[in-house]
Symmetry: C2
Subunit: 444 residues, 2 copies
C-alpha cells in the first residue's frame, strides 16, 4: 500500500522497482472509494476495467517494457470529460450516453500509464446547481463546485489525483473548501477536445492532488497540443515538474491586491491575509486592484452567459424542463447581450491579458483568497461564490490553491497563488519556496 505521505512520483517509482503492484494500488483506492461512498464523490466506477488495466501495467513492468510517469497511478476524471465505454453524465438527466471515445487528456493519461477508476461527480453541466457530493471534512458542508467530486475524492484519499475543469472558479474554490492542493494551468496548456463545452473562451482544465509536486507531474503528462482546440498553444510547454522541484534564483516577490469584492471575505480569511502580509514583510506589496477589475467581472459574465447560451442552443437544450431553474435563468440571461456587448467584453478580456503580462514583470505571483472563506452549509443550497477566481480565469493565468488556512468552523480555507500566463513552472517554483520557507513543507 502506498504511504499517504508519498508523492505520486515516489509511489510510481515503487511500482517501477516492483515493491508495489499497480493492482495493489488500485485495489487500495477502490476500497477507499467503497468506504467513502457516503460522500458521493463518484458518478461512475468501473472496478473490472481498472483492475484489468492495473494488471496490464504490471505485466508491462515485468516484461521490461517502457514505464510512464504515472505508471499504475489510479485517477478520477470529472464527469464532463469523455472516457470511452463510460457514461458521460455531466450531472444532468439530459446526458448519460456511453462515450465511444476518449477526451484527448484521457489518452494522454493512459499513455503515461495512469488508470482511470471512473468519473467524479459534477454540478449540473459544471454550472452552479449542486452535485450530491458532501464535504469530506464535515458532511453537512458543501464541497464547492463545479468539480465537487474530484475535490472530495482527493480530499478523502480515494485517489491521489483527479481532473476537474474551471470556467470561473470550479477548481480552486472546491479545492479551498476541501483542503487539497489544486492547479488550473494557463489557458491552452491542456487540450479540451472531448470535454463538455460551456464557454470556449473561458473553459480551462485543472486538477487536484495532495502536493505541488503531484500537480506538476500530472500537468506535464496532460500538457499536449491539439490544434482542434482553438486555445491550444502551438509552442513548447513549461516543464512543471522541474519547476515544482527547483529553488528560485532569489527570494520571490509577491503582490496582494485589495479587491473590489474583498468585503465578501470572512473574518478568518481577512486575518489570515493580514498575518501573511506581516510574515512576508519586505517581499510583498499590498496594492489596490485597478478599477478595471469591476469591468472584468462584468465582461466575464457577458462572455460566459452568451457562450453558454450558444452551446446549449446548439445541443437543443435551451428551454428543456430537465434543466435546473438556476441554469435555465443563466441561459436566458445569455440571450440578452447584444453582439457588440459581447465583442466589447472580449476586448476587455484581451486588455486584461496585456495588463497582467506587464504586471508580472515586477512580481512572481499574486496572493489572493481562493474563496470568500469556509465552505457553505449544504442546506444553503449553493456551492459558494466563485468571484475570487473570476479575474484570473478570465485572463487565463495559472493559479494554485494552497491549503494552508482554517476558518471559524475548523474547515479549510485555501490561499490562491496566481502566476504569469504560460509561466506555470515559475508559479510552481514560487509556491514551493513559499511552502518550504513559511510552512516547512519539505515535500510540498
Amino acid at each position: 500500500m502506498p504511504e499517504s505521505s508519498q508523492t505520486i512520483a515516489e509511489t510510481v517509482s515503487a511500482v517501477a522497482d516492483g515493491h508495489l503492484d499497480s493492482r495493489q494500488w488500485v485495489e487500495h483506492c477502490l476500497e477507499r472509494v467503497r468506504n467513502n461512498e457516503a460522500l458521493g464523490s463518484w458518478s461512475f466506477i468501473d472496478e473490472a476495467r481498472a483492475l484489468a488495466r492495473a494488471d496490464q501495467m504490471d505485466r508491462i513492468r515485468k516484461d521490461g517494457s517502457a514505464l510512464g510517469s504515472l505508471h499504475g497511478c489510479p485517477i478520477g476524471v470529472k464527469d464532463i470529460i469523455e472516457v470511452k465505454a463510460m457514461p458521460h453524465g455531466c450531472g444532468s438527466p439530459l446526458m448519460g450516453q456511453v462515450s465511444d471515445q476518449n477526451a484527448v487528456l484521457v489518452d494522454a493519461l493512459e499513455a503515461a500509464g495512469a488508470i482511470i477508476l471512473g468519473k467524479t461527480e459534477t454540478t449540473e453541466f459544471a454550472f452552479l446547481n449542486p452535485a450530491r457530493t458532501k464535504n469530506p471534512h464535515s458532511q453537512e458542508y458543501s464541497p464547492g463546485g463545479s468539480s465537487a467530486g474530484s475535490a472530495a475524492a482527493v480530499a478523502s484519499g480515494d485517489v491521489p489525483v483527479a481532473i476537474g475543469s474551471q470556467t470561473n472558479g470550479s477548481v480552486i474554490r472546491p479545492a479551498s473548501y476541501c483542503g487539497v492542493y489544486a492547479m488550473k494551468p494557463s489557458a491552452g496548456i491542456i487540450p479540451r477536445i472531448g470535454v463538455f463545452e460551456q464557454s470556449p473562451t473561458l473553459d480551462q482544465m485543472g486538477l487536484f492532488a495532495t502536493s505541488l509536486e503531484d500537480l506538476a507531474l500530472v500537468t506535464d503528462a496532460l500538457s499536449i497540443h491539439d490544434s482542434r482546440d482553438p486555445h491550444s498553444i502551438a509552442a513548447p510547454r513549461p516543464s512543471c515538474f522541474q519547476g515544482a522541484c527547483s529553488e528560485p534564483p532569489m527570494d520571490p516577490n509577491f503582490a496582494i491586491l485589495t479587491l473590489p469584492y474583498s468585503k465578501l471575505q470572512s473574518r478568518a480569511c481577512t486575518e489570515g491575509f493580514r498575518e501573511l502580509a506581516d510574515t512576508l514583510e519586505g517581499q510583498v506589496e499590498v496594492l489596490e486592484a485597478p478599477p478595471m477589475f469591476e469591468e472584468l467581472i462584468r465582461a466575464q459574465r457577458i462572455i460566459h452567459m452568451t457562450e453558454a447560451h450558444h452551446a446549449f442552443d446548439r445541443l437543443g437544450f435551451v428551454g428543456s424542463s430537465d434543466l435546473s431553474r438556476i441554469l435555465a435563468k443563466m441561459l436566458e440571461e445569455g440571450k440578452t447581450f447584444a453582439q457588440n456587448e459581447y465583442e466589447e467584453a472580449l476586448e476587455i478580456k484581451a486588455s486584461a491579458g496585456s495588463f497582467f503580462q506587464s504586471f508580472f514583470e515586477d512580481f512572481d505571483a499574486i496572493l489572493s483568497p481562493s474563496a470568500s472563506g469556509e465552505a457553505p452549509l449544504l442546506s444553503e443550497g449553493h456551492t459558494g461564490n466563485p468571484i475570487f477566481c473570476t479575474v484570473w480565469t478570465l485572463a487565463g493565468l495559472p493559479t494554485l490553491n494552497l491549503p494552508i488556512m482554517q476558518g471559524e468552523n475548523g474547515l479549510p480555507i485555501g490561499l490562491q497563488m496566481v502566476g504569469r500566463q504560460r509561466d506555470d513552472a515559475r508559479l510552481l517554483r514560487t509556491a514551493r519556496w513559499f511552502m518550504t520557507t513559511l510552512f516547512d513543507e519539505g515535500e510540498a
Copy 2:
C-alpha cells in the same frame, strides 16, 4: 549557422543559449532548399510561415518562456501528412486541396518547438509510381520510395530531419539509397490521424535524420497516444533518446537471417554481410529464416492490396483515369481476395507477432539488408524493391537504417537493424553500440 556535424539536440541547445537564432537556422535551411531545387525533394514550401514561426520561437526564448526539445528546428513532412494551410498533395492530381487541420504528429512537432518548412515529395499516394525526386548522391538514380522527398531532403542537408511513412518499405529503402539514418518505430508509437490511409493494418510512420540520436529525439516528440487511431498504444512509450544515449549492460547478440529472397541481393550487399558476420564473430548467429517467411510476404500482399482497394473505393478513386497504371492494377488486385483469404492473412500476421516476441528473447537485434543493393537508375522507372522490409513492417517491429556500406557504383547501401516490438529504446541502444564499436562513430 549550425555545424553539419552537430546533432539537433546540440543545435537546439545553441538556440536555447542564444548562440544561434532559430531564424538563422531556418534561413540557412531555406537557402539549401533553394540551392537543391533540382533534386525535387519538396512539393510545397512556405517560407513566410516558416520565418514567422522562427521569429515566434526566438521571441519565446528571449521572453524566458518554456523551450521545446526541437525548439526552432526546421523539419519537412511527407506530402501525405496534413499540415494546416498547406496543400495536401499525396503525389496525385486527385488531391491538392488545402488542409484545414494538422495531422496529430504535426501538432506534436509544433508543441516541441519545431518549424515545418513544407511538404516533401511522395510517390503517388505513397505507392510505387515514382516521385519527381532525384537521388542526391547521383542525379541519374532514384531516391527510392515512397518517402522520396524526405530521404533526399535530409541527404542533401536541406533539413536535419524529415517525416515519412512506411506501409511496406517506404522509409528504410529510400534511406538506404540516399545514405541517411532512418527509423520506423514500432507500430502504434506515432499516431496516424491526419495521414493519408493506404492500409490501416500496415501503415506506420517513420523518419530520416543524420544520426541515431536525432532519430530518437524526434521519435520521442512524436510518441503520443491518440485513441482515434486503432493501433495507437494506450500505454507508456519507450524513451528513445535515453536509449540512443546509453551503453548496453553487456555486448549485444545479433541474428542474421538467410532470407528466402536473399538471391535478390547485389554482390556488394552480400559481401558486406559476410564481412559483418566475421567482424561480429561470437556475437552473431546466422540462421535460416523459418519457412513462414514466404507465407508472410504473401499475407502482407493480401492485406495491403485488400485494404488499399477499400480505402480508395471509399474515396471514389477506384477506376479514376488520374491513377497511374501500376496503382490501378494494384487496386484491381485488391478486389480479387476473398474475405476468408484476408482474414487468414491477418491471422498469419498475428502469428508472426508471437514468433518475433519469443525470437527476441535470444537476440537484441536482427541484421538485414535495407534493400537489395544500390538505388536503381531513374530510367528504370521504378523505386526499387521493398521486399527486404516487408516482414518487419508486417510484424510492426521497430527498424533502423544505418548508412554504412557502399555499392559497386559508389552509392550508399544501408544495413537494417530490427528490434523487438515496443522495445525501440533497446534497438537504439544496440545500434549505438554497433556504430561506436565497429565504426568509431562517437556521435552516432
